[in-house]
Amino acid sequence: MKPVFETTGTCLNIKLPQELDHPASELIRRESDRIMGKIYIRTICFDFGDTEFMDSSGVGLIMGRYRALGMRSGCMKACHVSGYIEKLLRLSGVSRFLEVEKTEPETQMEGRSV
């Protein structure tokens, strides 16, 4: 399953794949770099709804996107986070700057494809 990228205003929504490992993270890093070079992005929202597996490559992806957005507070969000993913986010310390939401906000339901 491929990741899906959508933008709503200056927010980039990334629907993460089932397995967020090294090859998947590489692909998302490249694609989000491409989008961020084309459109002004202020916030990134990661949707973990379909994600069953993650390792430190996924953590590196989140850290790298945070750096790319200038490490501003509130620039990184995560939704539909399961217990296991939450454990990894907490353990790695990224939950300090990643706002974790249990449900996806309404505004992010209608996005346009990029």
Partner: protein, 141 residues
Amino acid sequence: MENSNEATIIFDSRPENEGLARVTAAAFCTQLNPTLEEVADLKTAVSEAVTNCIIHGYKGEIHKIRMKCRLKENTIYLDIEDDGVGIPDIAKAMEPLYTTRADQDRSGMGFTFMEAFMDEVKVTSQVGKGTCVHMSKKIGK
């Protein structure tokens, strides 16, 4: 020997094989009737070790990685080995957030995750010869 079982797979250091390695370890471990969380922990640890072989050990070149899985009583033992560049300072490499590849969005959390999810993690390495990560986890504590 009774109550023991062993399997070894040798595969190319391609990122696509990370999935193969973790699914193999998880499937092998099912004989111990693990919980879903134990399987997830094991898969993450294997993924970290294999990613290290690919990115750091072989620096993206294609060579062989060996993964030996062994069950004894209710413990799974894993040895994940490469013949790559080796690690000059193992203690430093295992520090949380330490990475030599921050440019590639690497988190430096690989060994930290292995240590968090397995009962024991030991690293043996020789510069220029290769690295072996030995891990074990007791299932059904």
